[in-house]
């Protein structure tokens, strides 16, 4: 490609070709810089899927810091800096930056990852993105291709690092994939038999075949993380504790909504609010959003960046939201008892009302 740039952004994560991608990025930066005389810089960024709220996530944070450190060390190595941080030869200097991004947002879809990366690039005026071909933004879910597609929608230069795949993807499935496949197969097979209702040979065989097909096609995209039996059991038990509480809340919610709806005056004062929930991860946010929707006078409308947009029916339902009992309960289900002790959303200032814009076009 003729138009290349020495200002490069590299999203990083642990992968088998991580080392070579770093080398390639640095080499490219230096090559282009020496040709064009541009100031060369390479930014290694780590998009993260959560925010640090308590110590539980500390180990993950250390891993991230370690990965970024590695990138920096390797890059400096490749650039022949000596111990004093001085360039040994007459080479063009390349500045190396590392950053953790996405802490203030929910990252789920490839689009979300692309947005944070592009925002960062725009911020630092980087105009070229080099992607590690083995980069796994979504954990073990295959997300690289859609991510590259999303990135390519911008006017930045996006390319995959042309690195040798050191380890050919082995024919033998990895342990993670096996446990995913087993979980998936067991789940769909059980479901099939439940629906069939009769455990004769015909159903067992057709069920096994169907479950096999489903597993082959979907097992890699159904789970983001490797299924972990012990964590699953713990969460299920906590979830069962959560259910009666939720049911009680739902009942209360319905009585109050029934009262409001059947009241001749329709006593509602709806309002939109933004709620920065201290919860991360697909499943837990979904649980919280659905619980909010099911309980007194609140409805999750949208999820923007780092917060939920909530529509509430009455003032009393807003008060309930501010106490944060539900949020606490969901934190308990997913992170355990210690995580449930957190200041209420009102104390954290996590709730703000959403200003209504007056200049919206009406399309009825």
């Amino acid at each position: 490609m003729s138009e290349s740039s020495a200002r490069i952004l590299v999203p990083v994560g642990e992968s088998s070709t991580f080392r070579n991608t770093v080398a390639y990025a640095v080499r490219e930066a230096r090559r282009v810089a020496s040709e064009t005389g541009e100031e060369a810089t390479v930014h290694f960024v780590y998009p993260v899927r959560w925010q640090l709220v308590d110590e539980r996530e500390q180990s993950v944070a250390e891993e991230v810091a370690e990965t970024l450190d590695k990138a920096r060390v390797w890059a400096t190595d490749d650039l022949d800096y000596d111990d004093d941080g001085e360039l040994a030869s007459e080479d063009v200097p390349v500045s190396i930056e590392t950053a953790v991004i996405g802490e203030d947002r929910y990252l789920f879809s490839p689009g979300d990852f692309a947005t944070v990366l592009l925002d960062y690039a725009a911020d630092r005026e980087l105009d070229r993105i080099i992607v590690d071909p083995e980069y796994r933004p979504g954990g073990s879910a295959p997300m690289l291709q859609p991510l590259e597609l999303e990135l390519a929608r911008s006017d930045l230069l996006v390319e995959e690092a042309p690195v040798e795949r050191v380890v050919e993807r082995s024919r033998l499935p990895s342990r993670a994939n096996v446990s995913k496949a087993v979980t998936m197969f067991a789940g769909s097979f059980t479901f099939y038999l439940l629906l069939a209702g009769v455990f004769d040979t015909f159903n067992l065989v057709t069920g096994a075949v169907s479950a096999g097909i489903v597993t082959a096609v979907f097992s890699r995209i159904t789970f983001v993380n490797t299924p972990d039996a012990s964590r699953f059991v713990v969460r299920t038990v906590r979830f069962l504790l959560y259910v009666p509480y939720l049911l009680w809340e739902i009942l209360k919610a319905n009585l109050s909504v029934a009262y409001i709806i059947l009241h001749p005056d329709l006593p509602i004062e709806p309002e939109m609010q933004r709620f920065r929930a201290a919860i991360w991860g697909d499943l837990s946010v979904t649980t919280l959003a659905n619980s909010i929707t099911l309980t007194p006078g609140t409805l999750t409308v949208d999820m923007e960046r780092d917060s939920l947009v909530i529509h509430s029916l009455t003032q009393s339902s807003r008060d309930g939201l501010e106490e944060g009992a539900l949020e606490r309960a969901v934190r308990f289900v997913f992170y355990g008892r210690s995580a449930a002790r957190l200041p209420s959303p009102a104390e954290r200032g996590a709730i703000s009302s959403l200003p209504t814009t007056d200049d919206t076009e009406e399309d009825a």
Partner: protein, 105 residues
């Protein structure tokens, strides 16, 4: 009628009541977001109670298990659907109704 049948009819009737509330809400409430409240809460509970009644009737056999499965499915999907619709409206820029809009109508 047996006591079990009384319990079933009771559950179905309460479910019927909440579904009625949902219908009144959907027809009566002023805007989309408030109507979504009606479907996501009242309609869900109405459905869940009615299905719960039927599950009780079928008892611990395949039909009962299926009904419970259906119940759980409704419990999860109903609020999710309401959320998806409200989100679509929000993305589209439809403003929520507020108390002050009342005079305008």
């Amino acid at each position: 009628m047996t006591p079990l049948e009384y319990a079933v009819v009771g559950l179905v009737l309460v479910g019927l009541f909440f579904s009625f509330v949902a219908v009144v809400g959907i027809i009566r409430l002023p805007d989309l977001y408030t109507r979504a409240h009606a479907t996501s809460k009242s309609d869900t509970l109405g459905t869940v109670l009615s299905l719960g009644g039927v599950a009780l009737l079928f008892g611990a056999e395949v039909s009962g298990v299926k009904t419970v499965l259906l119940l759980l499915f409704m419990l999860i999907t109903n609020p999710t659907a309401a959320h998806a619709i409200a989100r679509a409206a929000h993305d589209q820029g439809i403003e929520p109704w507020t108390k002050s809009d009342e005079e305008g109508e």
